[in-house]
């Protein structure tokens, strides 16, 4: 026999501040380490980058105190640390490439971070209740699929290294798939919260699974076709896996039925196999994955091999920041930032980074458990699962668990669109967690107000 009682809610804003200062401190130490190891002096950019990060994160912290005081206190420090460490690594690669502090990628990344935080702050400021988003379920669907297909528009889309996932507007280039991830999560949450009863209740039992009715298979088939379309036309396995996986996971969260996962896996592996048979670029990826060090694979690309050698060079404790050669790998600052870290801070350090991602995802899932409305639950679960899946796709790709694809590591990788999308995602999670942790309004007060109102009528 047990009793269940509510605990008084904690805001945890001071805990957040302490952790935030610790996070910035770690970043400054890492920056100092890079400067001392590469130039032997106190790094000149330390003040600019360190103060920049501190100001950005403290401003966001103050906004949280003001607008979402019950929001989860752990999300912001974790994200700040990841973003800051990404900055340090990009700065370190700037030094290796001989770029100056002022026109290096790190400065651009810091500018993007500031912009991303500003947009996240705007999301948090203007979106007072995440349930408002539910009104835009089908708008989100249209926008999401539109963003996904935008790179296919002739003249706008750009093919970069085989994948057509970029759009170019003048000097700027942008990966719309990153934003589409969030928008589609909103759509899936709004759609599934309406239809989950039908999807979870109707159906026959086959081999212990409750199979859905044929007509209920419609949505999953649409999602499957869309994700295969991305795979075939944009040649991007990563985004394709991300969107389909997101949909299947949210379907599972909404209906609690394992049969959806089985169906999803069968559909995806079938589709991927057919794509493998039909398309050369998929075969190439698989060759690189299975036979990385074979002469045929090395003739195509030695990027993955270089990344693996880098991580092997790092070993358990790493070569130390500034002492390895991560710059030997192409895209060491974006797709291959995990091997860069693996080389310089070692298995120990990389596992600390993975723990940070794990904790970030855990906080998202905890938010999903805590929030009281179905839409919020699905949205928080979907958003945090999308981060989880993206980390899996990236880390799995560079460590040869799955074929390598061109996704970015959230917060760590160089790239404006990725930063914008992921900071906004965290802003949404913070907003939902604020609702989840905020105590319910006092019922007695409402009752007292009602009683008074009746009394006023009686007075006459």
């Amino acid at each position: 026999m047990t009793t269940v009682s509510s605990l008084p809610p904690r805001k945890g804003r001071n805990v957040e501040l302490v952790l935030l200062l610790l996070a910035v401190g770690i970043v400054v130490l890492a920056y100092l380490n890079v400067g001392l190891a590469t130039q032997g002096t106190f790094p000149p950019g330390l003040l600019a980058h360190g103060t920049g990060l501190l100001v950005i994160s403290l401003a966001f912290h103050l906004l949280l105190r003001w607008r979402a005081s019950y929001a989860d206190p752990l999300l912001l420090p974790i994200v700040t640390l990841l973003n800051g460490l990404g900055l340090v690594m990009i700065h370190r690669l700037d030094i290796a490439a001989g770029r100056d502090v002022a026109d290096g990628l790190a400065m651009k990344q810091l500018t993007w971070s500031a912009l991303a935080v500003a947009i996240a702050a705007a999301v948090l400021f203007f979106l007072k209740d995440h349930r408002t988003l539910r009104r835009y379920t089908f708008t989100a669907a249209a926008v999401g699929f539109g963003l996904l297909l935008l790179p296919l528009v002739p003249g706008l889309g750009r093919q970069v290294y085989g994948s057509r996932i970029w759009i170019g507007l003048g000097p700027f280039s942008f990966q719309p798939g990153e934003i589409a991830k969030i928008v589609l999560a909103i759509f899936f949450a709004g759609y599934l919260v309406q239809t989950r009863d039908v999807l979870s209740l109707a159906g026959r039992k086959v081999l212990g699974f409750t199979m859905p009715r044929a007509r209920d298979l419609g949505p999953i088939l649409v999602a499957w076709v869309a994700s295969l379309g991305v795979l075939v036309f944009e040649k991007d396995l990563g985004s394709s896996l991300l969107f389909f996986g997101l949909f299947v996971a949210m379907l599972y969260v909404a209906t609690e039925r394992t049969s959806w996962i089985a169906i999803g896996m069968v559909l995806f592996s079938g589709g991927a196999y057919v794509a493998y048979l039909l398309f050369g670029h998929v075969q190439q990826r698989v060759l690189l994955w299975l036979h990385t060090f074979s002469p045929e694979a090395l003739a195509v690309s030695d990027q993955l091999a270089r990344g693996l050698m880098g991580m092997a060079n790092g070993g358990l404790l790493g070569t130390g920041l500034g002492r390895g050669r991560p710059d030997l790998t192409y895209f060491a600052e974006s797709d291959f930032i995990v091997p860069s870290f693996g080389e310089e801070i070692g298995l120990f350090g990389v596992f600390a980074l993975f723990m940070l991602y794990l904790l970030l995802i855990e906080r998202g899932m905890r938010t999903a458990l805590g929030v009281r409305d179905g839409f919020g639950k699905l949205l928080a679960a979907g958003l945090s699962f999308s981060v989880a899946l993206q980390c899996f796709v990236v880390v799995g790709g560079v460590t040869r668990v799955i074929p390598l694809t061109g996704l970015t590591m959230p917060f760590l990788s160089y790239g404006g669109s990725s930063l914008l999308a992921n900071w906004s995602l965290v802003a949404l999670l913070l907003r939902i967690s604020d609702h989840a942790r905020r105590p319910l309004p006092e019922v007695e007060q409402a009752a007292a107000a009602q009683a008074e109102a009746t009394e006023v009528v009686k007075i006459r």
Partner: protein
């Protein structure tokens, strides 16, 4: 810059990273917001979920025991909630079907606010709150507040409650 300083900074960075991870985990542990589940008597059948969820937190004991005969808690010995035990409060412990009661009964023979156990000048009393089917002390139906002590057995509908210290 000497190699030693660099090594210290490098390893210090790794240590700090893990310190951060563990401090986050430490906050997590203290941050299990929402509900607290308090286990009472193990090994008995659990009672009705609604009653369990709505039951308010038992007040912590403020005063030490003032004697062996002074009851401090009540335990359900028979009925669907058998095994439940909760602390008596000086302000009064309500028993009934109403969710606001301290002991919420799921019993067709109990009234919404069935009985109350309360303290007056160091003595505990049980009082029937005008229930339909009555509160029984042994075979005697209560009509007025009756003093109780440790070991007193009360019957409310199908539920039997015993006072303990």
């Amino acid at each position: 810059m000497s190699e030693l300083t660099l090594t210290i900074i490098r390893l210090g960075l790794l240590v700090l990273l893990w310190v951060f991870v563990f401090s986050v985990v430490g906050v997590l542990r203290g941050d299990l917001y929402g509900t607290r589940v308090v286990s009472r008597l193990p090994g008995r059948r659990s009672g009705d979920r609604a009653a369990r969820a709505k039951k308010p937190k038992p007040a912590p004991a403020k005063k030490p025991s003032r004697g062996r005969r002074v009851p401090q808690s009540l335990t359900v010995t028979e009925g669907p909630l058998a095994g439940t035990s909760l602390r008596l409060r000086e302000s009064g412990t309500l028993i009934g079907r109403n969710p606001e009661c301290a002991l919420v009964l799921d019993d067709d023979f109990a009234s919404g606010r069935h009985a109350r156990i309360y303290e007056r000048e160091g003595q505990w009393f049980v009082e029937d709150l005008g229930s339909t089917n009555g509160t029984f002390l042994g075979s005697q139906r209560l009509t007025a507040p009756v003093p109780v002590e440790v070991g007193t057995v009360l019957r409310v509908g199908k539920t039997v409650v015993e006072l303990r210290n």
